[in-house]
């Protein structure tokens, strides 16, 4: 299936890039979780997740991506069922129900839902092409496909993932093509909804009241971070301090005071980028941003060179998903995006996120290795 010289056909550059990012992330997790008694078990767990992820990524190259596309709707349906399950019997963490326990494992179905939705949309757009763009009516079905998991995730409530689903889907619609007037209509509707939320007090109160206190606090803290530096603005403030105090060259590996003395919360998960920035300075943070840029541009190139719509849409969707992850996560650490729980792909500690990312990247590699194959 991979040809006679499978190893030579592998896109070693891209794999190397992915491995490099994952290793930098692993070292950051090592530093962020280091305890007085030595490396934390979290570090070893993450090491296992990344190793497993690398294997899964390679395995994802084996089947044809069309096979994956064939299972897209099944996967989508499964993720919806799991999202419903999590509502009924999920584990609660940090004020939201996000976790589903299967045997000894606990994972976040919402992470899987992002991938499944992306694949389902890719298949839908691939099978129902509109070369000159989709109209609003055409977008009714994909819109519903986005709305179901979106509402379920909002119900958890997980503002970050909901945002991710919406933005990734929007980018995919953009790639798939949409009428300009549809865009204008969507923007208008969104503007009216937003205006009514902000300007009509009863609606605003209703929407505001439906948010959990921690969400209200995060939004308040984003608007005015210095209002309560030890309360809701704490995360954002401490992260900015960590990033800024790294200056150009950084404080050195495991020398970050913010990270090592636990001023920085969620430092091995959502704020891992701040750890890298603090300990390696702008050299480190800038390098990471550039590495992601290269990865994403290779992804865009993969999409451009895909031999069919399914491949192009899948690759575009994967790039969109990872790009949104990176921008929201880094933007959050740098204080230009509200604090929402979004992991940094390949870097943040967490099994579900690591495995999902490697699954997606495996698919990207799959599409890349098959770009010259005309028959399948």
């Amino acid at each position: 299936m991979l040809g006679r010289r499978p190893l030579a056909n592998l896109p070693w550059g891209l794999i190397g890039l992915i491995a490099l990012i994952a290793l930098i992330g692993l070292s950051a997790v090592y530093s962020a979780t280091y305890t007085a008694k030595g490396p934390s078990t979290l570090f070893y767990k993450q090491m296992v997740w990344i190793a497993a992820g690398m294997v899964i990524m390679v395995l994802m190259m084996l089947p044809d991506y069309h096979t994956v596309g064939r299972y897209a709707y099944v996967l989508y349906a499964a993720s919806i069922i799991m999202l419903i399950l999590v509502m009924v019997m999920g584990k609660t963490g940090m004020g939201a129900q996000r976790w589903l326990a299967i045997g000894p494992f606990a994972f976040q179905p919402s992470e899987l839902a992002k991938l499944a939705l992306m694949l389902a949309l890719a298949r839908y757009f691939a099978e129902d092409p509109r070369r000159d763009g989709y109209s609003l009516q055409d977008l009714a079905i994909p819109g519903a496909m986005v709305l179901v998991p979106l509402l379920l995730v909002l119900k958890q409530p997980d503002l970050g993932t909901a945002m991710m689903l919406l933005l990734t889907s929007s980018l995919m619609v953009m790639i798939a093509g949409v009428h300009l007037r549809s865009v204008v209509a969507i923007v208008l509707v969104a503007a009216v909804v937003a205006a009514s939320v902000f300007l009509v007090p009863p609606v605003r109160h209703k929407v505001w009241g439906s948010l959990k206190p921690y969400q209200q606090n995060r939004i308040k803290a984003f608007i005015n971070p210095s209002s309560d530096p030890l309360g809701s603005g704490y995360h954002a403030n401490q992260s900015k301090i960590a990033v800024g105090s790294g200056q150009i060259t950084g404080k050195g590996f495991r020398q970050g005071t913010q990270s090592q003395m636990a001023f920085l919360p969620e430092r091995h998960t959502d704020f891992i980028f701040a750890v890298i920035s603090e300990e390696h300075g702008f050299m480190g943070s800038g390098l990471m941003v550039i590495l992601y840029l290269i990865l994403l541009l290779i992804g865009v190139d993969t999409a451009r060179n895909a031999k069919d719509r399914m491949g192009a849409l899948m690759a575009g969707g994967i790039v969109s998903m990872i790009a949104i992850y990176v921008f929201i996560n880094v933007g959050m650490s740098a204080g230009i995006v509200p604090v929402v729980g979004v992991p940094l792909p390949l870097v943040s500690y967490g099994g579900t996120s690591v495995i999902t990312t490697f699954l997606a990247l495996g698919l990207l590699l799959n599409i890349q290795t098959r770009r010259f194959m005309l028959f399948y």
Partner: protein, 603 residues
């Protein structure tokens, strides 16, 4: 199929995605550069202050010693259990656990936090259990993991080893009131002197707070010590007080209400200053319980009241010293002039009695003062003129603040004829002169004024500022700042007149018709004058007076008579006759002082 599956249109749109990726990367890049390169130093400063937290170190308060170097107010090391709410990630859990371990109600902890909220700084611990028992300290220390935010703080607790002894001059410390906090710039914690010397010399005693810089993690746990700015302990005070004399005075008063002031007439140093009933200042430093406070402040005998300086009484016959001096110095009293005392004197419609029912008969100055003949002093008072007597009284320091450094001193009153007119609208009658001449009526003085007066008589008219402090000592540098005797003024007394008065005062304890034989002692020659201040204007003959209407008993004395080293004023509220009630108290004080006179600390 081939055509339908062509991704050409999608490929056309992909540069949009690339542009999106590049634009956002540039945004992030610029933002990171701004944070790290442009504002890097600012955030580095923030990070530095983030991990270093100053912990206030309270200085030990100065110790007070008596004039023989014995500590009478000291500090005991105790342990308090406190809570730093900022350090508890889950405050409610910490409160619940702490309450369970300390076996107290969680509401009490909430109350303590609420009370402290408006006045505490961030990360300042809130005291939950003061002077914790050992098992409480142990349980908090060993369950630190369950009790984030809770800590054990060593504290120097104010301790008064002699309990109520000298409580009115030592005072006590307590929580600052809101007004005190507003005025206070020392920022030294919440305990401050609230009475007596603790209050007057608070600035000397309190010291200067220090700081310990500690490195903490976000959980507030100390990672390491970064340095310490030692607190400067308060200055130690060496008082003029002689513990033995003080104890003798208080023992002699027993459970009677009253006051004793003993002073070195040559320096103004207060040797003893007692007021009974007293209170235990140990009740205050940890915050007096509402029950104890109500008991103390509503007690009908007013234990918090310092009778030696805050209470004024009619001086009774001790005022005859003033009339004697006024008469002798103005020449109105001639030593040989005799007055006949039949036991009373009629003036218009009123009869003014002598304390001695049968009268003293024909009597001259010496015997009249020794025997405290009222009729003689009615007569002389009238001859001298009341306003001149008032002038002498004021010259002897009566009716005015002595300036002793204790709070709320009362001036008392030396009326003039003018004063009465303004106050009551009535003229000054000859009867007013009579009764004021024997220290009744409108005249009111405090025990410390009486002591100051007799000290001036003992010291040939020299007035020294009554003082409670001999010296203060900086505990760190060892530098001693002495408080030198301060002569306020001298009152020109005719030496011949003074000699006559002193001869008579010696007669009061030694001659057969003297009224204060009870003050005589083998340890020294004692000169004294008794006083009996009527609480109600006239006794109804034959009725026994109840305790609250019994006369106040006075005695002023100095010893040794020829070379005075101690001046004493004793007042026993409702004690009855001065000679019977007050004289023995003065004797005990003088005896105790004279016993150790040779070993008295010298400057």
């Amino acid at each position: 199929m081939q055509l339908q599956d062509s991704p050409a249109d999608i490929q056309r749109r992909l540069p949009l995605l690339a542009a999106f990726v590049i634009i956002f990367t540039v945004v992030l890049f610029v933002r990171l550069w701004y944070l790290q390169a442009v504002k890097g130093e600012y955030y580095l400063e923030q990070a530095e202050s983030n991990r270093i937290r100053p912990v206030k170190l309270r200085p030990p308060r100065g110790i007070m010693y008596d004039r023989k170097g014995r500590p009478i107010v000291e500090n005991a090391l105790t342990f308090d259990i406190s809570l730093v709410p900022e350090d508890a990630p889950d405050l409610d859990a910490s409160i619940q656990n702490l309450a369970a371990y300390l076996k107290i109600k969680p509401e009490d902890i909430h109350t303590a936090l609420d009370d402290a909220a408006p006045i505490r700084g961030k990360y300042e611990p809130v005291k939950i259990a003061e002077e914790a028992a050992w098992d409480q300290v142990a349980v908090v220390e060993s369950h630190q993991d369950d009790l984030p935010g809770a800590l054990v703080e060593p504290e120097h607790r104010r301790h008064y080893p002699y309990g109520g002894l000298a409580s009115h001059q030592l005072g006590y410390i307590g929580k600052m009131t809101g007004a005190q906090r507003k005025k206070d710039t020392g920022d030294i914690g919440l305990l401050t002197g609230q009475g007596g010397l603790e209050k007057v010399y608070d600035k000397l005693l309190r010291g200067v707070a220090g700081r310990r810089m500690i490195q903490v993690n976000a959980a507030g746990r100390k990672v390491k010590d970064l340095g310490i700015e030692e607190p400067q302990p308060g200055n130690d005070l060496y008082l003029t007080l002689d513990l033995d004399v003080q104890r003798a005075a208080e023992d002699a008063l027993g459970d009677r209400a009253g006051a004793v002031v003993a002073m070195d007439p040559n320096t103004g140093e207060i040797l003893a200053l007692a007021s009974h009933p007293n209170y235990d200042p140990n009740l205050f430093p940890r915050g007096i319980s509402p029950k104890d406070w109500v008991r103390l402040s509503n007690d009908p005998v007013h234990p918090l009241y310092n009778r030696a300086v805050q209470s004024v009484y009619p001086p009774g016959s001790i005022f005859k010293i003033v009339v004697s001096l006024a008469g002798l110095q103005t020449g109105v009293i001639k030593l040989d002039d005799k007055v006949h005392c039949s036991g009373s004197l009629r003036s218009g419609r009123h009869t003014f009695r002598c304390w001695k029912k049968g009268g003293h008969g024909s009597i001259s100055f010496h015997d009249a003062l020794v025997g405290s003949c009222d009729v003689y002093f009615y007569t002389m008072g009238e001859r001298i003129g009341y306003d001149i007597i008032a002038q002498f009284a004021r010259n002897l320091g009566l009716g005015a603040l002595t300036g002793i450094k204790l709070a709320d001193e009362k001036a008392g009153n030396i009326p003039t004829t003018e004063w009465k007119k303004q106050r009551t609208g009535e003229a000054w009658y000859p009867g007013d002169t009579y009764i004021n001449s024997i220290g009744q009526g409108f005249v009111q003085v405090s025990p410390i004024q009486a002591c100051q007066m007799i000290a001036a008589i003992a010291n040939n008219g020299k007035f020294f500022q009554p003082t409670l402090l001999r010296q203060s000592r900086n505990r760190e540098t060892g530098v001693v700042t002495p408080v030198l005797p301060e002569q306020k003024r001298a009152f020109k007394i005719d030496p011949a007149a003074l000699a006559e008065i002193r001869r008579a005062l010696l007669g009061v304890t030694s001659e057969s018709n003297g009224t204060a034989h009870g003050a005589a002692t083998p340890f020294a020659t004692v000169a004294a004058k008794t006083g009996t201040a009527q609480v109600i204007a006239q006794k109804v003959a034959g009725t026994k007076l109840s305790a609250s209407t019994q006369d106040h008993a006075w005695l002023v004395a100095y010893a040794p008579a020829d070379n005075p080293r101690i001046a004493v004023a004793v007042l026993v509220e409702h004690g009855g006759h001065g000679g019977a009630a007050a004289a023995p108290v003065a004797r005990k004080v003088i005896e105790e002082f004279m016993k150790n006179a040779g070993t008295t600390a010298t400057r």
